[in-house]
């Protein structure tokens, strides 16, 4: 490892430790506040009237006033410290990530504060249902993350970090707070009756990576390949259940048993799905899934291939709970990036016997 990178890592590790400490401390204090609120809310049910009066007498409360003030001071100090160290750590983390990513593949360009557009995320049909990116752009957010893009052989590829928020999911955070949760429930369930702008609940939060590459065959419709959780449990009956949940898509039953066990395929055309998912590419997708070691989602649309993989800490982020200097955090990060870039080779996207090699789909 280079000396400059090691120094950067050591600095980042110090900030990470402080950030983790204050974050956990702040979280612990919130739990205490919640516990106190819950105790006060349930006290009338547990104590009779006279004892309740005694407990909450003014002179009794005064006894707790000094520690009470001290508690809030500690609470706010830890809250701001957590925020401060998060910013500092994120800055250093970005520098580390940039240094590593630039070393992995010189052909690709790394850009911070750039991301794959919401419309394109929706177009992929694997993270958001079709059309939702445009229709509900007020409710779904993907704050600018980082993007790695360039050309590998004949294939243009963009690998973006995705961190998708749903307004509905943010509202649900309020459900843990007493009193506010009643208002939150009213807002969630009554608002759709009074407004036309309702949030579609099909979409979910997603943190991970989305790669967009130009595909080596022409695609007129849509083919979506999702992990098949049902088939492993209930076998052939899974197909009958999956065919019920189609939304203008056909369930494509392919003959590769290993592929069928791992994935469920939906598409607009039976023949086109088989044209795209040739026997060779099915084997390659199964091998890619094994290599990645986590569920992968793919779609083929508009002559593009989309691949999404969930990474709980973010794709261009280092694992927050691991020591940056002494653990294998850096190796894991390097492996993830190398695997993502390797998609072009693994899926044999550079073989252009069906279209001209210089054809590109990106502007």
């Amino acid at each position: 490892m280079e000396k400059s990178l090691l120094l950067l890592l050591q600095k980042a590790e110090v900030k990470r430790k402080y950030y983790r400490f204050f974050k956990l401390f702040y979280f612990f204090q919130i739990q205490i506040i919640l516990l106190i609120f819950v105790t006060i809310a349930f006290a009338p049910l547990l104590l009779d009237g006279s004892r309740l009066g005694e407990t909450f007498q003014v002179h009794n409360l005064e006894r707790y006033l000094v520690p009470h003030k001290l508690y809030w001071i500690i609470f706010f100090v830890s809250m701001f410290a957590s925020m401060y160290f998060k910013v500092r750590y994120t800055q250093l983390e970005k520098e580390v990530v940039q240094t590593i990513v630039r070393k992995i593949d010189k052909r690709l360009k790394f850009e911070n504060d750039n991301s794959i557009s919401l419309q394109e995320i929706a177009d992929s049909e694997i993270i958001l249902p079709p059309g939702k990116g445009k229709k509900h752009s007020n409710h779904i957010e993907n704050p600018p993350q980082s993007i790695l893009m360039g050309r590998i052989g004949h294939t243009t590829i963009r690998i973006g970090s995705i961190d998708l928020f749903h307004q509905r999911s943010r509202t649900t955070l309020l459900l843990v707070l007493p009193i506010i949760n009643i208002i939150a429930i009213l807002v969630i369930y009554l608002r759709p009756w009074f407004t036309s702008k309702t949030v579609d609940h099909v979409g979910k939060n997603f943190t991970g990576m989305l790669a967009v590459a130009n595909f080596n065959k022409k695609i007129h419709g849509v083919i979506v390949v999702l992990p098949d959780k049902l088939e492993k449990r209930i076998g052939y009956l899974a197909k009958s259940i999956q065919s019920l949940n189609l939304k203008n898509r056909l369930l494509i039953h392919l003959e590769n048993t290993e592929f069928e066990k791992e994935f469920v395929v939906y598409g607009t055309d039976q023949i086109e799905a088989r044209y795209i998912l040739s026997t060779a590419i099915m084997d390659r997708i199964v091998a890619l899934k094994k290599k990645m070691g986590r569920p992968i989602m793919l779609s083929f649309k508009n002559d593009k291939l989309y691949i999404a993989i969930e990474h709980p800490y973010g794709f261009f982020n280092l694992p927050e709970n691991k020591n940056l200097v002494h653990s294998n955090a850096l190796e894991l990060f390097h492996e993830n990036i190398a695997c993502a870039i390797g998609i072009v080779k693994d899926l044999d996207l550079n073989t252009r016997i069906w279209r001209k090699s210089n054809e590109t789909i990106f502007p």
């Binding site: 392919l254 039976q270 016997i353």
Partner: protein, 181 residues
């Protein structure tokens, strides 16, 4: 009486469902079969252009090219039965693959833009043809499963349906063409 009507109604609905389900699956097989036909037609249309492009370059393959043209004419004849046609198409596929492989020995041909375009089109049609065959087999498999499973097998027998054959590649088609340069 009410129960009898309910049971009779349910049985009637179930019979209608079985009947319609079999018809839909049979039609899916026909649809898949006709898409193979469309792809074969596409390939047959490419042949004259391919032969015209390569005949100037591939002097030593004149016999193969003549054979391709003759096979195409046989395929295009009006009174060819489907089974015979698929056999002819299968032979045609093998010969076309042979021409493509032998073209590697002719550098002038390999740099011909027109030939490269035709080769890409032919590859695409072959891929689509393979996809259409797989789709046909999937449709046949679903239809055959329905015909064998209870209780749709009873309805199948009443309708006089029999199992359909899967599309298999001829033995000579499976073997990789032998190349002599």
């Amino acid at each position: 009486m009410t129960y009898a009507i309910i049971i009779f109604g349910a049985l009637l609905l179930f019979t209608i469902f079985l009947f319609n389900n079999l018809i839909a699956k049979k039609n899916k097989v026909h649809e898949a079969y006709s898409s193979i036909d469309v792809m074969l037609k596409k390939r047959t249309d490419l042949i004259p252009r391919l032969v015209n492009t390569v005949k100037g370059y591939m002097e030593h393959e004149r016999a193969t090219l003549t054979e391709i043209t003759q096979l195409r004419e046989k395929v295009m004849a009006e009174n060819v039965q489907p089974t015979a046609r698929f056999n002819l198409e299968s032979q045609l596929g093998t010969l076309l693959e042979k021409v493509q492989l032998r073209s590697e020995a002719y550098p002038d041909l390999k740099s011909n833009e027109n030939f490269l375009m035709l080769q890409a089109s032919l590859n695409e049609v072959e891929e689509q043809l393979s996809a259409a065959r797989r789709a046909y087999n999937a449709a046949v498999n679903t239809f055959n499963n329905t015909l064998e499973m209870f209780p749709s097998n009873i309805m199948g027998k009443m309708m006089g349906y029999s199992q359909k054959e899967l599309f298999t590649i001829e033995t000579e088609d499976k073997e990789a063409p032998h190349i002599n340069f």
